[in-house]
C-alpha cells in the first residue's frame, strides 16, 4: 500500500499531468492495486526481511539474536551446503542442457507433418501434468534395485543391475532420466514455436539447395531462438529450486533426505531442512539470499549473452 501512495504522490505532484491523465493514473493504479499489495507484502517486504533474518540466529521459539556475518561465514565451511550447491549446479549445467536438447529433438521429430500428431502430443504432455509425488512413486518402483523393471531389463540383456538410487554416482543421472519424462511441457512449447516458422522461408531455402540440417540450423532454430531463450531462463530458475522429485525419491521415515552420502542433496532441500526441520531460520535465510544472488547472476549472464537470440520484426 505504501508503494501505491508513494507513486501517487509523485504522480500528482508532477505538474505536467493533465486532469485527464491524473484520472486515468488513479484508475490504473486502482486496477493494479492487488499487484501493488501483493508485490509489497509477498515480494519486496519478505526479501528485505529475509536479508535481516540472515544476520540473526532465530529458531522461532526464542527471539532472534543478531550474529552479524556469522551465518554467511559458517556457510563457507558447511560441507553439506557445498554439496548442495554442487549437486544443483550438476542439474543446471548437465541435466538442463540434456533435457532441452532432447525436448528440441522430440519437437523437431513431431514437426515432420507426422500423422496422429495430437495423440503423440497428448502422450508426451500427460506426464508433465500428473502430480509430482504420484509419478515419482512409480519411478521409485521402476528404479528399485532388486524388483525394478529397469534392472530386470538390464539383467535380461545380460548387463549388471545398477543401483539407480542407491549408488551415489547414479542417483543424479537417474533423476535426470526421470526428469526427461516430465518434460512434455517444453516439447509442446518448442513444437508451437516450430509451427510458427514461416513456410515460405523454408521453401525458398530449399530452392536454394539447403539440406535438412542446414535448414534446421540456419533457419528453424534462429527463428525460434526467443522460445529457446525463454525455456532456458525458466528452467534455470526452476532447477535452482529443484526439490520435490529428489525429496520424494530419497526421503526416509525419520524425515531425512538427500540419498546416500548426500549424493542427491540439492540446494532447496538443504534449505528446507535447515528452516523447517532444524528451525535455523537465520541460517536458512542466509542460504536463501545466496540462492537469490546466484539466480540473479545466472539470469544476468543469460541476458548479457543473449545476442544469439534473434528477434525478427513482427510486432
Amino acid at each position: 500500500m505504501g508503494w501505491g501512495a508513494f507513486l501517487m504522490t509523485i504522480a500528482i505532484r508532477r505538474p505536467r499531468l493533465s486532469k485527464q491523465q491524473r484520472r486515468s493514473l488513479l484508475i490504473g493504479l486502482l486496477f493494479i492495486s492487488p499487484a501493488i499489495v501483493g508485490f509489497t507484502l509477498f515480494n519486496i517486504g519478505p526479501i528485505i526481511q529475509s536479508l535481516q533474518y540472515s544476520f540473526t540466529r532465530y529458531n522461532i521459539l526464542q527471539p532472534p539474536r543478531y550474529v552479524g556475518l556469522n551465518n554467511y561465514l559458517f556457510l563457507l565451511e558447511d560441507r553439506v551446503f557445498k554439496i548442495g550447491i554442487q549437486n544443483t549446479l550438476y542439474m543446471v549445467l548437465i541435466g538442463l542442457p540434456i533435457h532441452l536438447v532432447f525436448n528440441m529433438l522430440m519437437a523437431l521429430l513431431l514437426n515432420t507433418k507426422i500423422k496422429g500428431l495430437s495423440i503423440y502430443r497428448s502422450i508426451f504432455y500427460v506426464p508433465s501434468i500428473t502430480p509430482v509425488v504420484a509419478s515419482t512413486i512409480v519411478w521409485l518402483w521402476i528404479f528399485n534395485g532388486q524388483f525394478g523393471i529397469l534392472n530386470e531389463f538390464l539383467r535380461f540383456i545380460g548387463l549388471r543391475p545398477i543401483g539407480w538410487l542407491t549408488d551415489p554416482n547414479w542417483v543424479k543421472p537417474s533423476l535426470i532420466f526421470m526428469g526427461a519424462w516430465f518434460g512434455g511441457n517444453t516439447i509442446l512449447i518448442y513444437l508451437a514455436g516450430l509451427q510458427d516458422v514461416p513456410h515460405d522461408l523454408l521453401e525458398s531455402a530449399e530452392l536454394d539447395g539447403a539440406n535438412a540440417l542446414q535448414k534446421t540450423f540456419r533457419i528453424t532454430l534462429p527463428m525460434i531462438s526467443p522460445v529457446i531463450f525463454y525455456t532456458i531462463i525458466v528452467n534455470v530458475i526452476g532447477y535452482f529450486q529443484y526439490f520435490t522429485e529428489a525429496w520424494v525419491m530419497t526421503s526416509t521415515r525419520d524425515g531425512s533426505a538427500g540419498g546416500v552420502a548426500n549424493s542427491a542433496m540439492f540446494y532447496s532441500m538443504y534449505l528446507y531442512q535447515t528452516a523447517f526441520q532444524q528451525f535455523k531460520m537465520g541460517y536458512a535465510s542466509a542460504q536463501a539470499w545466496i540462492l537469490f544472488m546466484i539466480v540473479l547472476v545466472a539470469t544476468l549472464i543469460l541476458f548479457k549473452t543473449s545476442r544469439w537470440v534473434y528477434y525478427h520484426a513482427e510486432e
Partner: protein
Amino acid sequence: MAVAISWRENRLVQDRIKRAIAYTIVMIMAFAYIFPLYWLVVTALKTDVEIFQQPPPIFPPDPQWQNFGASTTYIPFWRYMWNTIAISGLTVLGTVLSCTFIAYGFARIQWPGRNILFLIYLSTIMLPSQVTLIPLYLIFRDLGWVGTFLPLVVPHFFGSALYVFLLRQFLLTIPQELSDAARIDGASELGILWHVMIPLMRPALAVVALFTFVQTYRDFLGPLIYLQNQQDWTISLGLKLFQNMYGAQWQLMMAASTLAMLPTIALFFFTQKTFVRGIALTGLKG
C-alpha cells in the same frame, strides 16, 4: 526431363524413408513415455506376492481391482482429494479474479509509468520462491494461519506476474476502438471490463484457470510447509505419508497414485485445445 523425374522420384523415396524413421522413433518414444503410467496401473493390480515376483508379470493373470478400493481406505483418500480440490479451486478463483483486474489495468488504461511498473512487476517471475519462503512463513505464523489453507490460497488473490503477463498480451490484441465505443456510450472502466473484455477474454482466462489448477494440484512444498493436521493434507502429502508408513504396500501406493493422477489427466483430455493454446501462449511471447 528424365533426369528431373528421377530426381523427383529419388526425393520421394528419400522422403518416405525419412518419414518411416521419424515414425519409428516417435513410436518408440511414445511407448517409453506411456510405459511408466502403464507400469503404475499394472503394479496397482498385482497381489503383494506378484509385486516381488521375478521376472515381474507384464500383466497380472488375476487383476486385483479391489486394490483401488482398498487404497482409498488405507489413507483417507477422498478427504485428501477434497482438500486438494478445495485449495486448487480457491487458488484458481483468486488468480483469475486478481489477474484479470491487474492485466486490465496494465493493458487497457493509459497511465503514465505503467510500462516501467509492469517491467518491475514482471521481474518477480524470476524470483526464486525460497527467498521469500521464510519471512512469509513467519508472517503467516504470526497471523495464526499456519496449519490452515489460508497461506496456500490468500496470496493468489493478489495476482501472479506470469498470468498477468499472459492476459495482458491477450488484452493488447483487442482493438482499442471497442473500448472507445463503450466509453462514448458512457461505460465505466469496470463496465468495459465486465461487458466487453471478459467475454472476449474467455479463452485466455480458461488457460489461466487450467494452468493454475494443475499447478496447485501438483504442488508439494507448499502443503508440506503449511499443512499440519493429517485431516487437512492434500493428496500429494497423503501419498508421501503412504510411502513413509507402509513402505511395502506398493500395490496400494500405486493404486492411490493412479487415482490421484486421474483428475488432471481427465481435465487434460476434456480441454486439450485450451492446454495446447496456453502452452503456445506461454512460450511464444517470451
